[in-house]
Symmetry: C2
Subunit: 349 residues, 2 copies
């Protein structure tokens, strides 16, 4: 008999449309065969799992774990520190205690980051867990990190990001030797800020496939697999891209609707566009993993609908099954050892 | 008799397709009634102005001014310092000497910035001229500055950017009271970096219509008219957006071509899409003005084709006619005076 994996803990109270959208997303994931623990206010969540809507098998895959408190989207992330029973914190606790294999939240990003870091804990050697955004490119996808968990990083943090991104691309995107680039504003090593120039040298000594500086234009080109940057820049990049994708789609739609020829053309092209929509859907459904914590933690948009939540749950499952945290831990440890060697060598010289 | 305005000085040697694409762009602008001085290697440029291709009126609007040197795209911007006769430097000199009213270059950005700053000079009170990018939004356009002239700015520089962006939006976009936002990663004043928190307070005291922090998602939404940020972040934002727009367009095209229904639909929708293309063309034709120098200086992409060059020349003309530099100078002076008053008041207290 195959052992069933631990369920994914889902913050039922997190997000603009919680708990309804989260519960519906969990149902979708359960229908696909995944086990989910919905963490939140039981009196509100339980009735949404109406058995008349669900098959017995699906219903059995869904459990509710009560949590009495919530950190709202408007609260400062540190509010999590005093709310011991906040849903997102309880999710982290279930993971830490071996009762769930990963967690998902579409709530307050900062609060989720703090909960994951302090309750689940970081991989040894990782100072700053990073949110890894996934952007489509003509071949596959580009991993950009950090997209918002850290502002004001130092060079060793960007090195951690590079290592984590490397394994993420390898395990999740199936890229054998991911090309890692440093986000800057020109390809030459001399371009950029003091930090990027410093990091450039640091990344050259990691043993990763470091391809040097890359620019914003490389995100959607497939010229690089992993892009590392500070969380401020990464967050701007993420949100700008989402906003542009949605602006362009709206414009395409409005343009087509503005004439009968356009409407007829759109009707004919609809099947073709369905595939297109799936590909650029990342803007709506992309939950980002917080890499560098001891287990999977996926953080989605506050605006996540059921589909986005279901998608995040599936990706959390995949992440847990790949054992990524262990791989990141080992490589970081190796780099630290190597650095110690360098330091010893330097001291001996 | 109406006096003819001074011509626009165009760096004929700047850009990946120079001088051919630049000359063709200048011809297009001249056909539209604008006077242009093409600055560059006369033996190469002059023959491209083949009189058999041009009407006498057009030919008369085009002059060539010889410049013996070039700063290539690959050279470090500081190379301009030792190349007294570089085409981009000669453009700046023509403007300084009152022989051209503004300049356009699609060459080495850094070199153009240095030439404009040192030869034309900055508006009194402006420390850091900034490149202003124009992004489409559902209502009109959003000005983002700086998109790449300055890396590592301080709060007073961002204040200068805000003032310059305000006037640019007012004069060029016709927005009566431009809403100015500070690019950050959350709307609350507490979000962002040390710098953004400091700038937030500075911007509140400018008398501009400061709407607080904005995010990457606001660039294409029409929720704000001017967005100020450091040149590193702005450049990433600009290049990421261009890359995404081109990626999505390619994907739409490929999707449509992949089936007969799609091809037929595309054919029908073509007129509708023509308008669409014009609107998102900013990615290909957007030359950015360097605000804060004593005259118009437009810097285009290295990849600029004739259409982009012609467009940049037209915008340089418009800029010069609006007298923007004088308006920026007066407002900056007013802010400085106000600050001095504050300082005096503080000293008296």
């Amino acid at each position: 008999m195959v052992e069933r994996p631990l369920p994914i803990a889902v913050d039922a109270m997190g997000g603009d449309y919680a708990p309804r959208a989260v519960v519906d997303g969990a149902i979708e994931a359960a229908e696909g065969g995944l086990d989910v623990v919905l963490v939140g206010d039981r009196p509100r969540v339980e009735p949404m799992l109406d058995p008349s809507r669900l098959t017995p098998v699906t219903r059995q895959r869904l459990r509710v774990h009560h949590a009495a408190q919530v950190v709202t989207m408007e609260e400062r992330p540190v509010a999590i520190r005093t709310k011991q029973d906040a849903s997102v914190r309880v999710c982290a606790r279930l993971v830490r205690d071996g009762r769930a294999s990963a967690m998902v939240s579409a709530g307050n990003t900062g609060a989720a980051v703090i909960a994951a870091k302090t309750v689940i804990g970081t991989v040894p050697g990782v100072d700053r867990p990073a949110l890894a955004g996934l952007f489509p490119n003509p071949n596959n996808a580009t991993v950009v990190l950090d997209v918002g968990a850290n502002v004001g990083v130092r060079s060793q943090h960007l090195r951690e990001f590079a290592v984590m991104g490397h394994f993420y691309a390898q395990e999740i995107l199936g890229t054998p030797s991911p090309r890692v680039g440093l986000l800057s504003i020109g390809e030459e090593q001399s371009k950029g800020t003091e930090l990027t120039r410093e990091v450039f040298e640091v990344l050259q000594s990691t043993g990763l496939n470091f391809v040097g500086n890359v620019e914003g234009r490389d995100v959607f080109r497939g010229t690089v697999d992993v892009i590392v940057c500070d969380g401020f820049v990464g967050n701007v990049l993420l949100k700008t891209s989402e906003s542009l994708a949605s602006f362009l789609l709206t414009m395409v739609r409005d343009t087509l609707r503005s004439s009968w020829r356009g409407r007829l053309g759109a009707l004919l092209a609809r099947p073709a566009f369905a595939g297109f929509r799936d590909r650029i859907d990342w803007a709506e459904t992309g939950a980002a993993p917080l890499l560098g914590v001891k287990a999977g933690c996926f953080i989605g948009h506050g605006s996540s609908g059921p589909r986005a939540v279901a998608n995040a749950i599936r990706r959390a499952r995949e992440f847990a099954d790949a054992g990524l945290d262990a791989k990141i831990r080992d490589k970081i440890a190796e780099l630290h050892d190597r650095e110690k060697l360098h330091l010893h060598a330097a001291a001996d010289a």
